[in-house]
Symmetry: D2
Subunit: 302 residues, 4 copies
């Protein structure tokens, strides 16, 4: 496995220079583009890494999975009264569908849906950001995981599009807390800094029937775990979820920081990272690495 | 397994009367609503059935999988120059997205995409309908599978929506053959009459790395098989693909005749049938039966 | 004329009870529904009134004309770099078109366009609300015209939809000032309280080549006046501008307070008011009164 | 007037070369681009011309006015059960709004609306094309007006977009006759060949309370005439109707053949022609000529 990971990184490294680092906020645009790392964490606790697997990066939309899991933990199926679990067929930040469908987001992994989940969590937690941070520290086994406040603040300064979505949902009665407060929390979650290793460990319960072995925590039930994975499979990669299923064949979730997590149910959790994105906003080299890995080992769930 | 199938049908039978048989053409509206059948076909050739598993019904959109497979057989990856493999987030017969995206359908399982596939096959086959019929006869092992011409003709009489889509794509240069001719063929494919048993056997190569044991035919490569399954998983149930993944967790494809096929990769092919549909156009009792079955045996791929 | 106005009000009064007072904010929902008034003001200074012509009401979107005129006064043609003067074909508060057209509103009389105009005025005036109030006091010759702060505050509390629009435009770079500040000003303009008489006098320059006789002010040039009238004619009545042109044949502007102003170029300015609205958000009895009046006197510009 | 027309043509002639002749069918693309003509026809029968005012060209969408007038003649207000008279805010050949609004076109001057009008006329006339031709011959006083069959046939060969619209409306039950037959008729109307003089005379009843003096025919009532003019004012120039009202201030109707007719109610009918179009599909030099003419004489109805 170790040799394979090294080989795969060598194979996809030439893609660096052909994508584009997220540049809608300066703090993200500054990240050196030539980084590439991968971590594979087995359900038995074995860890394989290659490249920049220990370098923390901004997890961005990968945090949407943590938020969703928190919401399922305290509210279960009730959350689906507020949003769906259907793919959207629209860019992640589109308002068009949201207006046509009366402020009900398609799924928790487009921005509108993640904002509703943040709104749900805001109603439940006294301190949503601390609550999330501690949750992620436990799951990753890394007590130093923290929010990069410079990034969170910069995202907030560029909040216009997300603010538009939140207010649009509020106008339909589907947003209950103060918009600015929820946005602050949402951006803090996105600005968590974690490495491939942190993330592979933090998401390992999704490959293991909901159980996180190193923290000893039954995070979700088996059934809930399959359901979260199913949403990742149909909606985890923005407007490229179908292509990811076609090429990689695993449930996954990406972030504009360049990270992608993929789940091999019953076996492994993979996290790959490279900052340059393709046109759909997913890590260019990351997608390629996962495709080769999945094909080489025959990991497609399909 | 046999006992379980009987039990599941008993459990979901009370749903009959709560859905609505497709009524956009008289020939479909006439089908008695109280029918319910299931067939499970193992990769080892073992067959389990319950209820009306041997009664032929109109396969409708399930034919879209056969058409796609034919197109992949002769044209491979080249077909993706004409359409995508992303979920659409729109009703199966919407023109909105088609116009916004310049006549390129999202995937081969919405009507627009299936029409493009039919157009591709029309350019390739001298007699596309015969070609399809013979293909399906071989795969199902049933030499009596035939087109119900009364249904095909009735569909053609009500072709307006599909004709609109085909002409819209033609206006974007993404439709090459005569619209009326392709529509005739498309409706003939939809009007194939097959039973749950026929369908479970005909689709069994999708559970078996592309190999159809009883016909001895390598229909697709392993990789292509995973790819077709991935498209079924993200786009196989109209605007309810996410819900099917969430509840059933298997690649599947439905038709408005009330049939649904689901694939348990490496193991089984399931076909369930009950004519009454839910609001999304999928068999109400069929969805429920597959959900119970998947949950009871733990068949989710996620 | 006096007799005709009385007769027309009698004729349309039976419509009261068949519409619906705007109820999205309590302060508007409280307005007694059975009020009906009309004022006709001639370019020669002659004034005719009937019914509740002296009762102040909330001018709401009629203020969009005043804001546009202010913006034209200080910025002229330059404002069209920020928005268009095309009818929208969408409800007044839709975000769909705004997103598809990159945050550029179709015209100054849909909410998004009026918000851009408010943003333009915010950049120009130290105190936009006072500036507007004084402008309207001069034009109407009524020094007591004032903002109803209870309504302005209530609108602000229900700002979600307008806030969504403003933030969406900001995300496209087409909104320069603080969203909350501009919204405050915008709602204050909408909450101006004026009577039919006040409004007929305040808008009379639009019937008189841009000259307001009683204030002695050349508000706009002849050409600019025609241009403002043209925008009222194609976009002044929300998604019913075409119907207003068809039935009344005059440039006009309505508000959800139930007021409608109509211009007979070269001759008269008419203001009619009745709080109950039709489905398009325009005064039901007001539209009917204007239709009869226009037809009886042959006032259509067409 | 004569001198003024010559002067205006000289002033706008430099625009030739900056637009683009319609090229979606070869027969239109072949028209020499450097032609420019204008005719002004007074209600008193006086005729002024300049440039290529006697050269016939393809009237294209200007025929939509004739079709509408025919439909009003035999069916009156009943036609509005099938379509609206609101501006569309969409390109002339868009299907998006048509689908969202259940197959009911916004107005008779977008293609979908004109097709519904053609469908209405098809139900009424034994020979719609002859009927239209004779109607136009009478109105223009030119017994040689004829359909250019080469253009009609070429349009039919490129019918995909219009066919898509017609079938979409049929799928909503808003199209009653055979699609191909109606399209044939529609394209024949568009392919009528007329000069500026022919058109100025043919449309003169719209400036004269519905009465065509030289044919002695009361084509429409005064009220109906105002209504047709109002629809031209709000929807006559595709997605540029607002701009035409803003710049020219007259009811008008354009065609992709490069012609534009404008009505000065009570006084004159103007027809200008130059084949090169702007981005909105309206004659570039024609728009400019009408703007100057309207401004110089102060003809804006607003």
């Amino acid at each position: 496995m170790q040799a394979l990971l090294n080989e795969i990184l060598d194979q996809v490294r030439p893609l660096i220079g052909k994508g584009k680092v997220a540049d809608y906020i300066p703090a993200l645009a500054d990240v050196p583009a030539d980084q590439l790392g991968i971590a594979v964490y087995g359900n038995d606790g074995e860890l394989f890494t290659a490249g920049d697997a220990h370098t923390p990066f901004s997890i961005q939309s990968m945090s949407k999975v943590f938020s969703l899991v928190q919401a399922i933990q305290h509210s279960g199926e009730a959350i689906w009264e507020r949003l769906g679990h259907e793919p959207s067929g629209q860019p992640f930040n589109s308002l068009l569908q949201l207006e046509l469908e009366n402020g009900r987001p398609r799924n928790p992994f487009i921005n509108a849906g993640a904002l509703v989940i943040s709104d749900i969590n805001q109603s439940r937690f006294a301190a949503p950001v601390l609550s999330m941070r501690d949750f992620v520290r436990r799951l990753s086994g890394n007590p130093h995981v923290a929010v990069d406040n410079r990034i969170a603040e910069s995202e907030y300064q560029h909040r216009a599009r997300n603010a538009a979505m939140a207010y649009l949902m509020q106008s339909f009665g589907n947003f209950h807390n103060d918009v600015e407060t929820v946005l602050r929390g949402y951006f803090s979650h996105c600005a968590l800094s974690m490495s491939c290793v942190d993330l592979a460990k933090a998401f390992c319960f999704l490959a293991n029937d909901g159980f996180c072995k190193h923290s000893g925590e039954q995070v979700l039930s088996t059934r809930q775990t399959q359901q979260v994975n199913s949403i990742m499979a149909t909606s985890g990669l923005y407007d490229e979820a179908g292509n990811f299923a076609y090429r990689v064949g695993l449930p996954g979730k990406s972030g504009v920081g360049g990270g992608i997590v993929a789940i091999v149910p019953g076996q492994y959790t993979i996290c790959v990272w490279s900052p340059e994105l393709n046109k759909a906003g997913n890590s260019l080299a990351g997608m390629a690495a996962l495709e080769v890995l999945s094909e080489r080992i025959g990991w497609s769930v399909f």
